[in-house]
């Protein structure tokens, strides 16, 4: 699945390290790559994804921005039109909304409006999802707001290896990419069991990350777990939750890690669902009009005659993300397990 340039050394990295490494690799390789956002300069970002980059590449390639998400993205669009490859950070995906107009009306349509004369080759990084008691404003998963907008690509990695490879692909892509990083995965492959200590990344094979440049292509899903009974479509944190639910229920689910939501890898989805005949869709975002709806639409379009049961969505509830009830909101392995049993007719 990966386009590694040669057999290189690998290094054990957690997800933040992998992301930082991707930025480092690209900044070293291409001096059009610039990184900025709130607190990303001297301090290195509240999640430390840009730590050390200012010291290494200087203040005009990695710097703090005013607290204006609109300004950050608007500036990135202007820079992109000039010829740079900006990689702005939005501190939390919840705070991307003040920039939504610049993203959806401007970045997404610049190429179309100008017949490709001006482009917006920008990669907007933002930590997404809940699970850190962040309440309504540090937990949301806004991916569906971007997958509805023609001209954008949306990427959500689930492990260090993919995070680095997908981020490099995104930066090299000439179209605007929304790169959402599940913050609950920064430090380990969290499977939804919040009451147990999280396994560190070092024990997960995807933490073996090649040094230097490699890419994981956009638009290609991965099979995170092979199985025959039912297909689980997931991305980000939910990939680990889904795998856990499969193990715990003993239902032999095939877990597909979408990795890129748009463009969507319909082929991998179709093959799996046609094989298993059943499907469930898992995401953390609110249910109604979430990306799960699109997945169901695609699956029923492609595989309707192969489906033995209705597709079930396991998602965040249609409420704001609550603080104290976080773990009742979060679609954990218990709820995914229930859905597995239900779709299996158990």
């Amino acid at each position: 699945m990966s386009n590694r340039e040669a057999e290189t050394e690998t290094k054990n990295m957690n997800m933040i390290e992998a992301i930082r490494d991707a930025l480092d690799v690209k900044m070293a390789q291409d001096d059009n790559v610039v990184v900025f956002g709130e607190d990303v300069g001297y301090f290195g970002g509240v999640f430390r994804a840009t730590e050390g980059l200012q010291a290494k590449y200087g203040k005009s390639r990695c710097f703090d921005a005013p607290i204006s998400e609109l300004g950050i993205i608007g500036a990135a669009i202007g820079m992109g039109a000039y010829g740079l490859r900006p990689v702005p950070e939005i501190q939390f995906a919840d705070y991307i909304l003040p920039a939504y107009d610049q993203i959806a009306s401007e970045a997404a349509r610049l190429r179309y409006r100008s017949s490709g004369e001006f482009i917006a080759p920008i990669t907007i990084r933002a930590p997404t999802g809940g699970g850190i008691y962040g309440g309504q404003t540090h937990s949301q998963s806004p991916e569906a707001l971007f997958t509805h907008v023609a001209g954008l690509k949306t990427v959500i990695p689930s492990n260090p290896y993919d995070a680095k490879g997908l981020l490099i692909s995104s930066i090299e892509d000439d179209d605007p990419v929304i790169f959402l990083e599940p913050k609950r995965l920064y430090n380990g492959p969290f499977d939804g069991h919040h009451d147990k200590p999280v396994t560190p990344w070092s024990e997960h094979q995807a933490s073996e990350v090649p040094e230097g440049h490699y890419t994981v292509p956009l638009g290609k899903a991965a099979i995170a777990r092979e199985g025959t009974d039912v297909t689980i479509l997931a991305y980000g944190t939910m990939v680990h939750v889904a795998k856990c639910a499969a193990e715990e229920t003993g239902i032999d689910a095939e877990v597909i890690d979408l990795r890129t939501l748009l463009p969507l890898d319909e082929e991998t989805i179709e093959n799996s669902v046609k094989k298993t005949g059943r499907c469930i869709v898992v995401h953390e975002a609110t249910k109604t009009s979430g990306f799960g709806a699109e997945l169901i639409a695609v699956v029923q379009e492609l595989c309707m005659y192969h489906l033995e049961a209705p597709i079930i969505r396991v998602t965040g509830w249609d409420t704001p993300y609550p603080h104290a009830q976080e773990w009742d909101y979060f679609p954990g392995p218990g709820r995914v397990g229930d859905a597995l049993r239900k779709v299996m007719g158990e």
Partner: protein, 410 residues
């Protein structure tokens, strides 16, 4: 273009970073009492200089001087001291509680207590504040029951917000305290809308909007000034410049040569810059702005110059981006100490009384915390019902949400 200058990006830097000696030489501190006090119906143009000055009342000796020195009685001053101190002790306690795992996050306002406390004491019942997360003083200055604040912070069974909201995101309509939002700046514009409503209805109520230095960069700040300058509603627009926005110094928001008060000049809004660590200055200037608003003279923009003496939140470690001892070098001192000195100079207070008050307030805070703890802490003991998660999304729960609640089994 042959002999052109090579362009370069200007990235402002704070005067000192970890390892450096703290340096506040860029902050000019004029003597107290020297800035004139204009009439409330003055033209904005006639007081443009006041945005570059700094209104101060308490001088280094603890005396209240100049035209801005407010006429207040001893009880009022003592009350001011008491609520500021209580705010600080409350913060200290809740900071500890967070470290003990009783809640997920806490935000202190250490060093900024004068601003919220004194402005609240200048407002009237029925007026509405639209605070950020750093104005707990607005509640404490009204003797709001601390136990209710802590219940909310602990997301426990008596939390009025039933665990739905982040800690310290209070909502207290009856105390003129608008529901806090985690999204920076949004409430600043809303305060202007609220004030417009007061004007539309021919009411006499005033709104007070709050925003931090860093957040003035947000779009809502601009919208607020645009609407305030157009419709001239009764609103006091407070910018709390505490020098930092997480790790980012105020110069990133305002460029390194402007300030926040003068943002009002582009809108012909009277704009004042004030020593925010001076309880009396905060009170006097707030009064002035509130009176203007109440007399239908429109908005006032105020930059309160202060310093965020603590970390940004309990998740933050400021020694990573500023000298560890920077707070000690802050030239405007500590608001509590300064008012205390004033009371001592006036002869109505002494160290002993101060110790006693501290002890008493600590006990009150502790009692409130203990009581709250008995109603549960985050995830421990008595909790708000899980089903509360589904409440108040809409006035009436729609069918799809009822179904989801059922599915959740709650």
């Amino acid at each position: 273009m042959s002999n052109d200058t090579q362009l370069s990006l200007h990235v402002p830097e704070p005067s000192s970073r970890p390892g450096d000696k703290p340096d506040f030489s860029h902050i000019e501190v004029p003597a107290a009492g020297i800035v004139r006090k204009p009439n409330i119906d003055c033209s904005p143009a006639s007081i443009r200089d006041l945005a570059f000055d700094m209104i101060r009342v308490l001088d280094d000796k603890g005396t209240a001087v100049g035209e801005w020195a407010p006429e207040v009685d001893d009880a009022f001053l003592l009350k001011g001291l008491q609520v500021m101190l209580k705010t600080r002790l409350f913060d200290d306690r809740l900071f500890m509680s967070q470290r003990q795992g009783k809640t997920s996050i806490y935000v202190q306002c250490r060093g900024e207590e004068a601003i919220a406390c004194a402005q609240r004491m200048a407002l009237s019942k029925g007026d509405m504040c639209f605070p950020t997360y750093r104005q707990q003083g607005l509640l404490i200055a009204q003797d709001f029951p601390m136990v209710d604040m802590i219940n909310q912070i602990y997301s426990n069974s008596k939390d009025k917000l039933a665990g739905r909201s982040l800690p310290f995101f209070y909502s207290e309509r009856d105390y003129g305290f608008f529901s806090i939002s985690g999204n920076l700046g949004t409430q600043f514009m809303q305060s202007v809308g609220w004030a417009m409503a007061s004007a539309i209805k021919g009411d006499s109520k005033v709104a007070s909007g709050w925003i931090g230095d860093g957040s003035t960069a947000e779009s809502d700040f601009h919208a607020a000034l645009v609407f305030a300058s157009t419709y001239k509603p009764p609103v006091v627009l407070n910018v709390v410049n505490n020098q930092w926005a997480i790790s980012t110094f105020q110069g990133i928001a305002c460029g390194d040569s402007a300030n926040f008060a003068c943002r009002g000049h582009g809108f012909n809004i009277p704009s004042l810059r004030v020593d925010g660590n001076d309880f009396l200055a905060v009170y006097a200037v707030s009064k002035w702005a509130i009176e203007r608003a109440r007399k239908n003279l429109g908005p006032t923009l105020i930059e309160w110059v202060t310093y965020r003496a603590a970390a940004h939140t309990t998740s933050d470690d400021p020694t990573k981006y500023r000298p560890a001892d920077e707070a000690e070098h802050w030239p405007l001192g500590d608001p509590i100490e300064r008012l205390k000195d004033h009371l001592i100079v006036k002869g109505i207070w002494d160290e002993e009384q101060h110790q006693a008050l501290t002890k008493q307030l600590k006990a009150e805070v502790k009692a409130a915390a203990k009581e709250a703890e008995s109603y549960g802490t985050l995830g421990k003991g008595q909790l708000p019902a899980t089903s509360e998660m589904f409440n108040h999304v809409y006035k009436e729960m729609p069918a799809h949400l009822r179904k989801q609640r059922q599915e959740a089994g709650v």
